[in-house]
Symmetry: D2
Subunit: 289 residues, 4 copies
């Protein structure tokens, strides 16, 4: 029974790029973290140490910076598409590329002054196999909290269940969501990416805020459905929602009542709710994920 | 030569408290991280294990939650003052208390829905010795960037100096600032704390943005001076400013010119610039720091 | 085109458990981080908020602690198998369970005294679908470095390649490896798990140390092959190896030569090399990953 | 009332240096994180942007690497002393330097192969004012646990005290300790530093393990006293000990008894116990801290 090489990929991860566009006194900045992963005919370097097919990860890093200079950086989806297609097109051994771009948001203070908004991080994951491209957009570290409108009751009970039912709890999570565009090339492009992202983000926020929640799963589905209802260009959305537990503090030993006002924000453990919301006739995901 | 106990303190650190105020359908939240440190006649527990003077850190935690219920949580400076004074007043062995409160900012999405703004963290450090109180307010993780208006030249050169002079660089930092109020009790209180904090924060942002910078030290002093000029209730400010280096990428090997557009955002090492700006007749700091 | 629920799972993550076994004056400890993820007929809670099929994540946490008391905690694979089988067997709605256990290593200082060894973290990932079980063991945060015996040359060159070839470089990585046992139930069990883990770990270390490396891919394959050659119970191993770059510092501006002695340890970006090594007749992975 | 510059310092922080010594086939490595902070006549750069007295932080970084090549890196105390004295001696404006070195421990796997031991980090903090030098050695992230031999009872009780007394609890902490050498220049030097560090570390471990603990304060003093008793070259030690709480899980709802076996390892909040142990005739600390 022989020992063989299976799936493999390699690339440069976390290439930190700041791009500044200067238009007179008003600058625009893009603050990005770019990761590249390539795969293809790479058995030789693994098996014999023959590196002749290996585009170095250093060259991948150089390419990211050079492309930023040559093509500019406007929408991260377009930038990632450009890179992914380049890596496959220009290297015979490479048959598949995935480029992941994270964008950190900044607020404007002045013409060339900015303050980092630590709110959500915007992401784009682009995959390309030489023929087709797939675009998955997303958001992470979007921390949301409802102080009303959330209950959790009627759940199953087994020997180890002690949780009290509640009709009024804090619901808090850090949204990690990725949504797949039905078509990488036509529906959205250029400014369309920004509009699509902003629209999806607004729908996530709105659905979280205005859904009366019976469980975090219930809220997850509502968030996903809202995005799909409002954004026809999105075929599927995957959400990973930690349940950031806030426990009401028992103040009865001190003759006090928290009155729904005083909570302990716990770190670990936490619930973790993960789910996909999709269209029943969505195009197949191919190599998007 | 005997071995003796020197300075010591103890307390409960990082008590995570969410406080919800309900006024009809509109809620207000305070998301805090509270740390308590106490000192006094505590030699016995160290030397002999006699704990009769030790207020447990568990009780300190309970006190924080109970006070939130009894007194509410509005301005973190007031909440910290209340706690610090309580610990000294109610425990014979405790002669000094320091309470540090961090407040995480949230944006409103709806009547009871919120989105965590990951921008700056607001802090209050209150010290109390049974007679006097000191209030130090502050901010951390306020990440700022200027893409113009910064140069660095004319510096000393020694054998190990290779840095090129520049008249146009990226200036970026993560502001960590603490400012001491001249008077813990009278000038500011209640809403005054919020107004003072907001004012100081605005002055820090404005001074960073509109100072033409010859060095990060130069910007540091400008930021400190601006706060003191604009806020008479503040006696002194201490700033710790990492120089978050952004290096322009050399694209000449590829026949390209970055054109002041393409930068590598470095992690380590980083410059670290720290300084105090004060009034020459400021009241002495006492035990504020 | 209807909007539908796709794949989903939920559970309690990062349940921190310390288990102490007392045998006279000599204690044994297990310091674990346990995560549970369950899936099955859970559409109702997502679609309508009907939670009647939901075993609460709080009960999952309770089960972990209760099982530790009832069954003890010896080998993490056995503990995870016990839990995964329980969740599926005892909940009609649950058809699949995955339990991930991380074990933090401690060194003994005395009969009941321990010092945390911060070296590698041991992991076990157990999956169970009501009929079959799969066991994946692993290690993460195992940081290794060779200061000789590593070259990197003969690689592809494109327009963006500037990297110099080298016949002597630092090779450093943080091993993240997971290996699938061919049979969850028979080959290894009880003490067998510990012996198998220790054996695999030794083989990883030995292969890293004694392989003359032509690329990190080459080392990855050598490490994987060594494990499979030495441990017949392991069917497949997946390695994720960041290339922790150490760049020799150019001291020529100071008239000095590093002499292969002085290196800058970089944080980001880093190469990321990922690959699978398997047997060509390995049993299919099923739901192991 | 004028606004003036107060205390200030600047430098390069977190310079990551790997130094390799080659002696035939057997290599020695030093994996360091070096931070430099300088102060002196630096008002001009703050007040007017005149940088003529500023030794750039980039040059400080270069100096660290160049000194590693010129002088080698054996004991971190000696390396820090060399650097601190250089910065003050060679720059007219600089009157005080502090150099902090962290050393990450590695275990040997082979002649040129190493495995990072993630146990404690060793530190040295050297201060120099042009005439005198001070050396503070230390350790951080040394995580210790006793599963017996710890009680906590007889403590003060106030309205907010609910903690039960216990005669058997888990005692766990992450030791952060710094000890000041009485004499930076004579007692210890070269190999003496290594022997002194190893000796102090052993004493900390032994005192933690064999002290029957009545409180973490009690253990803290015992650890400090043991170091001073055993190491005459050390004048003073400061310890910061988080109380890493492990709470026994209440399994009575399930008809089970933890039996002192099942604990929840909590993250936050945590007790934080800090204290100094010193000699009553210790030389004054000067600018050591």
């Amino acid at each position: 029974m022989a020992i063989v090489l299976g799936d493999n990929q390699y690339g440069k991860a976390e290439i930190r790029l700041l791009h500044v566009s200067r238009d007179g006194g008003t600058h625009e900045i893009r603050d990005l973290n770019v990761s590249v992963a390539l795969s293809g005919e790479l058995a030789a370097t693994h098996l014999t140490g023959d590196n002749s097919a290996v585009l170095t990860t250093d060259a991948q890093k150089n390419t990211v910076y050079a492309f930023a200079a040559e093509h500019g950086v406007d929408h991260i989806e377009d930038f990632a598409l450009l890179l992914a297609r380049h890596f496959v097109a220009s290297n015979e051994a490479i048959s598949f590329a995935r480029v992941i771009v994270e964008q950190y948001p900044w607020e404007r203070l002045g013409g060339h002054s900015f303050c980092r908004s630590g709110r959500e991080v915007r992401t784009a994951t682009v995959s390309h196999d030489g023929r087709d491209s797939w675009v998955v957009c997303g958001v992470r570290e979007l921390v949301l909290l409802n102080s009303a409108g959330s209950e959790f009751r009627g759940f199953a009970r087994d020997r180890y269940t002690t949780l009290a039912e509640t009709t009024d709890r804090i619901l808090a999570t850090a949204v990690n969501a990725h949504w797949r565009h039905a078509d990488a090339g036509s529906t959205a492009c250029g400014p369309g990416w920004a509009e699509s992202y902003a629209g999806a983000l607004d729908l996530l926020l709105a659905a979280f805020a205005d859904t009366y929640s019976y469980s975090l799963q219930h809220t997850l589905f509502a968030m996903g459905r809202r995005v799909l209802e409002g954004r026809p260009e999105i075929a599927e959305i995957r959400l990973s929602l930690p349940n950031k537990h806030h426990f009401e503090v028992d103040l009865s030993p001190f003759g006090l009542d928290s009155g729904g006002a005083v909570f302990y924000a716990a770190d670990r453990p936490y619930g973790l709710i993960e789910g996909t919301v999709t269209r029943d006739e969505a195009p197949p995901p191919g190599k998007a994920w």
